[in-house]
Subunit: 310 residues, 4 copies
């Protein structure tokens, strides 16, 4: 089975668990996979930016892929962004051989013009092969590459193997509307659109036509519920639940320390044994941890999943 444009629901951006000394924590890899499955996710995306992928060596990347694919039972997408196409091809084909369902490719920060972006994806597809389904990662805030709807449209139409957009432009609501309008007008092939940015705009992204979320907020179960509520037409329930979590979603959305916050909560939820990052690592103060605990206690008034014994 391969990823296709009908993908929907929540694909959790999986964290990569490390021991405090920087070694991969393979026991926690399983535990975290089980946690995500228990949250009701439709798939997993591993080796993304928040999965600390650039800090892994090629063997580790394949080892994690093998372990997650084996256990997950849901589609696994593998981040294969790399400075050279040789490494990208090697990881992409290796991951698919192991059972991954697709790969995700982010544009390198040096790209500026429409032509450069379109050309880059053409080269990437040539490198990994036209038989591997891929996801465009559209994340200007971190990558500094800005893709118009027209550019996305061209990449999709040029490459049948492009089946999904990880949408995390900011602001990005109009972009979803324009892409869906292009599909409706048969100017673009149908694709799946899953939204990132920590879920910060997921409430309205679903209403604009997104198929779900692909992000790593430490409560993937909340994201699943919001997606389900919206898909069932239960707008108020979606916003009520989303708004209850928003103070924490917002707090997690801090560049540079966001991953430390996320891992802190994942550890509290029992999903990983240690909140360590491999170096270079962000970290948070005791004060920040107390703020997170306070936010969790407030979320817990509405959503018991955020309640922890103290």
């Amino acid at each position: 089975m391969k990823l296709d444009h009908t993908a929907t629901g929540v694909y959790a951006i999986a964290a990569t668990p490390f021991h405090p000394d920087g070694r991969l924590d393979t026991v926690s890899v399983d535990r975290l996979t089980d946690f995500y499955l228990g949250c009701g996710v439709s798939g997993l995306t591993i080796l993304g930016i928040m999965g600390e992928a650039p800090k892994l060596d090629p063997q580790e990347s394949l080892a994690i892929t093998r372990q997650v694919v084996k256990r997950a039972g849901v589609p696994v997408i593998v981040g294969v962004s790399a400075p050279g196409f040789a490494a990208m091809r090697s990881l992409a084909r290796g991951a698919m051989d192991i059972g991954a369902q697709g790969v995700m490719i982010a544009p390198p920060p040096s790209l500026r013009t429409d032509d450069q972006i379109i050309g880059y994806y053409a080269q990437a597809v040539e490198a990994i092969g036209e038989d591997i389904p891929f996801v465009i990662q559209d994340y200007p805030l971190t990558l500094t590459v800005v893709m118009t709807p027209g550019v996305i449209q061209k990449i999709v139409n040029n490459h049948p193997s492009c089946v999904m957009l990880k949408h995390e432009d900011w602001p990005g609501l109009e972009k979803i509307s324009r892409l869906r309008a292009a599909q409706k007008a048969s100017e673009m092939r149908d694709i799946s659109i899953l939204c990132g940015n920590g879920g910060l705009f997921l409430d309205f992204e679903m209403e604009r036509g997104a198929d779900g979320a692909m992000t790593g907020y430490a409560f993937p179960d909340m994201l699943v519920d919001v997606v389900n509520f919206q898909q069932a037409g239960n707008r108020e329930a979606a916003h009520d639940l989303f708004d209850a979590h928003l103070p924490l979603v917002r707090y997690e959305q801090q560049q540079g320390v966001g991953l430390a916050i996320r891992k802190y909560v994942l550890k509290k939820r029992g999903a990983i044994a240690s909140d360590s990052q491999r170096k270079p690592a962000g970290s948070i103060s005791e004060r920040a941890k107390a703020e997170i605990d306070y936010l969790l206690s407030r979320v817990a008034r509405y959503d018991k999943r955020a309640a922890f014994r103290t």
Copy 2:
């Protein structure tokens, strides 16, 4: 009276009202000033980035300053950032002559190193004169200039006329803690710290030691209440009110369209006659307006000030 380090409360970043054809709407300048005063602000900051200052000519800048100062009865800070020190001096001295209480200076985006930033403020102070109190605008997301607490400390200690920090680093909570610790350790003169970023982290910024907010969220009255609650030690009330507004605060915090959202709400609240911006202008779709209306209706369940007749 001049601005000093004891400033506290909310200084609203004032929008600049325009007619649909791009002319200044001087009637709305008064109306908006009255609106801010009615919200209980402690001061006003005019001619900032969100005040479309770079689109005004020098005469208009002084005319607006004159009109606002005359009507406000609260301290007025004037944004004087400019590519050249001649224009900065001219506007700064002109504004102070008219009755402004201080000026705000943002670093130009070309600055990179600590020394460049410190040197720039030294030159700026030399240009405007040491007798004019000034505010450092620390806004990396838009300006791309990153100031460490140590750099801010040096600028403050180098220049007695530096009395306030407009804090809008992101993430920035630790920065407030570190600056206040530096003050406590007598490594830095006391300054006022007012927070920006649309208020997105105001709930915790107050707890870290901020003196208030300097931002343009369309409900300055909410900001005033949150600041008051926190200063009175009423933490729960502060967070409850803040969280009720957060979905809208977050929605307004969209680069490029944020001002259009803000002016749309200010117009709904009767504070300005038109939500037009001078060109080049951002704009929002009908769909976005419906989303804002929906968010307002949800905020109104908790805060009646967000209720509008439809």
Copy 3:
């Protein structure tokens, strides 16, 4: 008479002369204009980046324009780039009323996508009016905006008033070839292409199809000779002269201090009374001045115009 696509030769990017105290040096404005005319330039471009335009106030900008236009007797192009279209319109129309032949517009650094760039020029043309001939300034190194040949083609075809490209992409030789090929294939209206970047690639830019130079190297007379040699088919003479100057051209091409070097040489040549810049100003050390003097003495072995009494 208005600027059109047949423009050729050298348009000197004029420095703006200041007194050491920062006041405009109007006597030197005339002297410098005469100097450029004596060098054989075909036109002048005033109020560009290297003319310290952002440090001037609107009255000064018009005053300089009036003075130069009156004296020059050759076409004068006025830089009208501004953060707001109101200021751009005001300066553009004011300058044309006074006798300027065209204006130059640089894209603001915030633009990223092809559509944003094309849209910006459409708005700018609407602002200044379709009757004013304009020059696109394509200068990625400083402005961070990258325009493909296709984008330039669209702007040219969208706006009959677009008559010239100030080409200073780097690398940029292929871009000239592609634009000329587009013209030949009738995919783009004819435009004039004058090259910037201090002249660093002028030798080959002429061979790729440029019409001349628009830059501020302190020996505009050398640029004029190189353009003439190339237009007369005298390739060897062009390269010989160019190469003799290249060590100094290269030395002047240092971001941040380039203008200080240029003004130092212009003063030595008697073209301006003081090499002062208005603040914020770059400056060069005594050591650097000695290096420039040494470079001049070496150029002088080939080109007597670089010989100075010591």
Copy 4:
């Protein structure tokens, strides 16, 4: 033997030879090493940006290191810049075990403040170990990280294993002067300063106190001669030779296509079998090749090493 602060002369930034199909060309690795040695270089720097290091996998990096170290007989410095410290440590220690004399570390583009840069090098030294001599790569044009002399001074003083600066700030002459002054005033330990930027300012960099060059210009023999002339106090000879090459040095200094130009000339000189790059690759047109040939023919009038049979 390990690299120390007494290093002087030319360390060639070695290209990495590939077959047209992207495989490493190991035969050319030897041929190129011999070529550099024949040019009189004092050392070699491999796996730098221009060595296409990010496109190699870890095994290839070590294999190239092993091959070059074995053959070279001069000190070999290995570029070990990597997104994660685990990979940096692995390559650094592996390379030293094989016989490399030191490593080079570039700062990641995300760094902005002085503290961030100093902190990054502290973490890097902790990762690779204090026993491995390292070179700071100071290359703002490509890396966007700006280091003041004061920052370099702190890194040098914090880490005895910091023995060299690869200086390629632009402009950068004053920086060399200031660093040498700091040494003289005993504010900084002695370090070796070798200059990059394709050699574009090598003539004056030597006069400011540099110890030599570390760059990849396709005529390392010219760089060696210029360094030797300057060290022998033969200023005129240094400038005469340098200026003869400058038109080509300048031509090679084009971002994005510079490596293609360099490999084209290296192939012409018989140093590598193919000028192919691993993808993503820059390329040059037939027109550009003709321009290079023309420049070579002009250089050859002064320096016979640039003469080729046609």
